[in-house]
């Protein structure tokens, strides 16, 4: 008799594997088990608990993520940051998001950002996990975000970014070089 996996845990496991695959193969779309707002919640459930910190610009998400037990911190300190929509004015504070230290580069922000994988900005990606280079189309993000990310990602410091569109997930670890085409 195998131990069974409750539905919530099953969702967290599938979500985590999609995230691990997304970071392993940046630019390739992975599939989350749920879509839209629920996708953000599934990612939060698989990462956030009593031992971690979060922040979000969405009241709805805050109400759902709060009970997971994570500590809600300011953008300058929170390790998991959820932005179902990222507006240009959000970038002013986002600038402060932690990039880690040379001793502990893992003490850095993971940004989970909503966008649309459709015709918008063409991004050319290269780095670990990508053979040569690959391209993705991203719409619904302020263009300045990419400049901000580039200045934050001075390897080994930087942000690890997950882009969510519907139930599709793309990972951009700090090692990925993004060129706006």
């Amino acid at each position: 008799m195998f131990p069974t996996m409750p539905a919530r845990e099953a969702r967290a496991q599938v979500t985590f594997r999609a995230m691990a695959a997304a970071l392993s193969y940046p630019g390739r779309r992975q599939t989350l088990p749920v879509t839209g707002f629920e996708a953000f919640l599934a990612i939060a459930e698989s990462l956030v608990d009593l031992e971690s910190s979060y922040t979000t610009n969405s009241r709805d998400l805050d109400a759902q993520v709060g009970p997971l037990g994570g500590r809600r911190l300011a953008i300058a300190e929170a390790h998991y940051q959820f932005y179902p929509t990222l507006a240009a004015h959000d970038l002013i504070e986002l600038r402060e998001a932690p990039v880690g230290t040379y001793l502990y580069p893992d003490h850095s922000a993971t940004l989970i950002i909503g966008c649309r994988f459709e015709l918008g900005l063409l991004l050319r990606l290269s780095g670990p996990g990508i053979q040569g280079a690959t391209e993705i189309d991203v719409a619904g993000l302020p263009e300045d975000f990419w400049m901000l990310r580039a200045s934050a990602c001075a390897y080994p410091l930087g942000w690890d970014v997950f882009l969510v569109s519907g139930n599709a997930l793309i990972g951009l670890p700090r090692t990925t070089r993004v060129e706006v085409a």
């Binding site: 230290t101 040379y102 670990p128 670890p173």
Partner: protein, 311 residues
Amino acid sequence: MNLSDLSTPTRDYSYAFLDAFAKRELRRRILKAIAIPGYQVPYASRELPIARGWGTGGLQVSLSLVGPQDTIKVIDQGDDQSVNAANLRRFIARMSGVATTFDTLAATVIQSRHRVPEEILSEGQILVLQVPDPEPLRRATPSMTIAREMHADADYAVMWLNLYEQIVRYGEFTGGASYPVLVHSRYVMSPSPIPRWDNPKLHQAAHLTLLSAGREKRLYAVPPYTDVRPLEFEDVFFKVESQYGRRDRMTGATHKFMDEIAHADGSSTFSLSDTGYQDKLVKRQSGEAVTVGATYYDDHGEFYHAGFLKS
């Protein structure tokens, strides 16, 4: 609403043994490890019903990865059937209901003690290596604090000095297993005590490699398609263990990593270290239909990334 709506059925164990908190913690660390190739991420390393030092690091990573859709292979020095491998495999299967296999090509997660399989791993497969000592600078400094500072500064002068001294004293690199590598041109990493033969297999690989030390509470990763270069000089090159003249006693295979089997009369014969691969070769020779994958080293001993091993 009544109580049964709020509770889940009684379970003796969590799925995959670890509680949800332990799994979430491991998963957070694994994601950071993938994002910073070669950097050792500290983690809590929970108690398991297996003693630390017997593969608990790899086991925790495997348990936090697996779901019902996975197929797992566990090897110990290449062998699927050694006591350690058999016990870990049985534990993971009992605790998660995953399918098990001896076939490298069929596995989605491969937990290994000190070997990388001979057949080329493909995209989507995850190799979990058990690590006794994650710190490549341990021989240079006993202090974890100083080692961490050296990693932060990318100050690896002592590693180069160490290699230089080996050449001065012995005329060649004397490091055996655990030969240090430079990952993504930044972090020096211990690839776990895999033989030098297996080191090049991590370079620009299609699969994800996760390395985890349960006793030392550190885990790190090599993402797919990442540069992993053994430390070597411009004029003195890294070399893999020569398998020249060695022939598998069961299948006659050559240019694969061999175990030496000593006999009472002082002579010795050789046997493929990767028993899953050996099993398939035996089956093929007896006429059974079996898919044998391409191997990292071909039958002439040439590595699949041409030019990576210099001579």
